[in-house]
Symmetry: C2
Subunit: 481 residues, 2 copies
């Protein structure tokens, strides 16, 4: 209810603002820009570009692990795709990377009745010895429980954290508490003396497909072999322990790292009157190795690329719209390997960076956008009112929690001071699929994909065909960063 009331007042305020547009208030949205955004929004709902892009990408190249030949080939293809669509200054920006290959892996419950469990090594996890690691399983319900046991007390054992299934939430907030375990778990387990680390997958589904994801380096590497068990397998192991069994596991993995390169693919729709002012639309090209990266994050590239293409067809807006398909989002380790977001930031001169006027990232699947977020200082502005008016008809409401950080791809430029917007997608089923073999094209709902394109096209057009200074709208606390 609170939201509805608020939206109604925003909308009526927006209509009033339109009535006085002739007065030429600073940073007001022109009636023409609003009309154009509405038309683009409706055209986007009918457009097939996004579905075409993500279909070709995932079908032709399959999985695209960061730094792999398939990520490199997909990047070259995507650059050609952008050129064919009419993007300007299409370029590939390479950077060095420590890649990671899964190899083979297995988990066997030992004893009188051996059972095969379905596992996936965590990203950047080290290999086991060839014969595997064998040990008794010691279970913890939380990371804190594992942290609480004495150092060295798990010698020869396998540390197992089962914190339960991820709780599905519209905003994806069930993810954070569990990724902490994935990131820090192997390091903590090593400190306690464990021979290996396993955990219940960070996921909300109950399918026999583990969720991989990167774990954290300690002193330049992941200190232990680390694995995710699928939900049903974690339930099986925990249930066996609840029955009083003391299971022993044998874990094998041939995972390894290697020197390689990744790349960002960049294409521009140059601005009509202020080409030096850039709005960056980000997503990532790489995927995990298990699926074909349709929702994570082929969809993001499809949405942003289609949005820019629709604007191009209308005629460029005042400012430049830049689409970046970042390389190496998934496996980047801050301590020793690159990622596309950092490489892009480093390529910018201070003047270029200052002319990055706004940015947003699409990296949360292909389900519908339900809210938009703007810098805190933008609340109540004419821009916010225009955005609310244009986005409401496709089910997108103002977010009470402004998006101020972006994701891993645009994170570096946001940290460097570029204002950020958010178009929040429904994440209720995202963590059923995320980082699993099941992240495939058939999971994309074309109607919801089109709604994403509509939201991006409309909001970005409003920002790009204006002279709004989003930097001036940042709240005092972050304005000086």
């Amino acid at each position: 209810m609170v939201r509805s009331v608020r939206l109604a007042s925003l909308l009526s305020a927006g209509v009033c603002a339109l009535a006085v547009l002739g007065a030429g208030a600073a940073q007001a949205q022109s009636a023409g820009a609003i009309r154009a955004a509405e038309q683009l929004r409706d055209q986007a709902l009918q457009s097939n570009i996004a579905l075409d892009y993500v279909t070709q990408l995932t079908t032709r190249f399959g999985a695209r692990p960061a730094g792999s030949p398939s990520e490199q080939a997909a990047a070259a293809w995507a650059a050609d795709y952008m050129r064919a669509q009419g993007f300007k200054n299409v370029r590939i920006q390479e950077f060095p990377l420590v890649g990671w290959e899964r190899g083979e892996e297995s988990a066997t419950l030992l004893g009188a009745n051996p059972q095969h469990l379905v596992v996936a090594a965590l990203g950047h996890s080290v290999a086991t010895p060839a014969a595997g690691v064998e040990g008794e399983v010691v279970r913890f319900r939380t990371l804190e429980e594992l942290q609480a046991v004495p150092d060295g007390s798990l010698r020869g054992k396998i540390a197992y954290v089962d914190a339960g299934q991820l709780i599905p939430m519209q905003d994806g907030s069930g993810y954070g508490p569990l990724t902490r375990i994935r990131g820090a778990g192997p390091g903590v387990a090593a400190q306690k003396g464990a021979a290996a680390f396993i955990m219940r997958s960070v996921g909300s589904d109950m399918h026999r497909m583990p969720h991989t994801g990167t774990t954290r380096y300690i002193d330049g590497k992941v200190p232990l072999p680390g694995f995710a068990l699928s939900g049903p397998d974690a339930s099986q192991l925990s249930r066996l322990m609840d029955m009083g069994e003391k299971p022993r596991l044998r874990l094998t993995s041939t995972a390894h790292t290697y020197e390689t390169k990744s790349q960002n693919v960049i294409g521009d729709l140059p601005g009509r009157t202020h080409p030096e002012q850039v709005i960056v639309l980000g997503s990532h090209m790489d995927s995990w190795d298990l699926g074909t990266g349709a929702i994570d994050d082929g969809a993001g590239g499809a949405i942003t690329l289609a949005a820019a293409k629709l604007m191009m067809e209308r005629g460029a807006p005042a400012r430049t719209v830049r689409v970046i398909l970042y390389g190496s989002e998934e496996v980047a380790q801050p301590t020793n390997t690159g990622n596309g977001g950092g490489a892009y930031l480093r390529s910018l001169s201070p003047d270029e960076l200052k002319n990055h006027v706004f940015t947003g990232e699409s990296d949360f699947g292909a389900d519908r956008v339900y809210a938009f977020g703007l810098p805190v200082g933008a609340q109540g502005s004419d821009f916010a009112k225009a955005a609310a008016r244009v986005l409401y008809p496709i089910g997108v409401l103002p977010s009470p929690d402004p998006e101020l950080h972006g994701g891993a791809d645009i994170g570096p430029i946001v940290e460097a001071g570029v204002p950020v917007f958010g178009l929040n997608q429904d994440g209720t089923r995202y963590f059923d699929l995320h980082h699993t073999a099941d992240d495939t094209l058939d999971k994309i709902d074309p109607k919801q994909l089109s709604q994403n394109v509509a939201a991006w096209t409309a909001l970005v057009w409003l920002a790009a065909d204006s002279d709004v200074d989003f930097r001036a709208m940042r709240p005092a606390a972050t304005a000086g960063r």
Copy 2:
């Protein structure tokens, strides 16, 4: 509507029949038996025996491939479980079997952008050479299309049948048209000269988990390596072909057969007044190797065992109720290997067989029973009216299509003349899980499992605590078999 009207007339007829029960019509149901069936039905809804059995079975033993040590160990455990529950004459009936082990398998899409596809060898499929089989993929939409090409015309190629996803139906009728392809496909492909056979999984889900299942021997073995692709992988391969690519695949498999034994586990609830008259409740102990066989068919054992146990607690009915957990349902080849149903039939003397008065099989998951079927001649009988009355309150209606064959386990005794009843389960989601890694305990809904137990307990009690001659109720056409 037709069904509702019919049920209403059946029910009112049943009530009339009850009103004249004192007249002692032959084969009428006693009011006491009906009351007992109703009470047992309601007790079953509160019982935890079925869930306890299937939880222990699937958790302690995991997958139970026919003839494997885990099937053998699970059978020994189940016999102990039956004894502990008070079953009499609990025995293990062994028989020889040609078992099959999957080993390792893989499918790689070759070319500039290699991709890993998720496959499972079909049951009893032969291995590839160690280096695998490589060839161009030739697609067919139906088995008939494959049958229509000239013999020898697929030399060096891989025959691929993509007949689309299985259509989910309440009665499971989407399965038949596709299992034909799985059974006959490798033989037909061999005749055409193909080097291997692949098909879209026989399944209704779109998860990256292939559905295995047995394929047919020709001259004593499966003539080709045969594989099922998961739904998303089949869509990927077919889409690539729709884009004009001519994909080549490399397939590997180390599958092999071996000599072993399997066994039926048999336990009785001896009849109070006619212990020589036997009603057999069937299900199977073995499972496919990929999952833990919770719905196929741990649930069936749980349902039938719990039904008999509930009757035992009340005091035995007139006739003997025999629970058989059959071995080796899944991989039996008529031409050269055993199955539990055949072994049981062969163990019976002609007199014993004649005293098998009724039989039913639970082998279609754990979702609710929606209909009951009786021999055609039973329609309109007092027994049918009593059954309709007792089962209607738990949502079970008379089936318009009487069950006259049973499944693979009771099939041999049914062929030999034993009358059969059916309690038809909702199969809408059964083929999402059937024969995949995802057939695990968490897929069982405890409430629906209990409803199954209630339906079995009530119907079997009515039959077991009566003198109804079901053999006399068979229609003329099959009565003489």
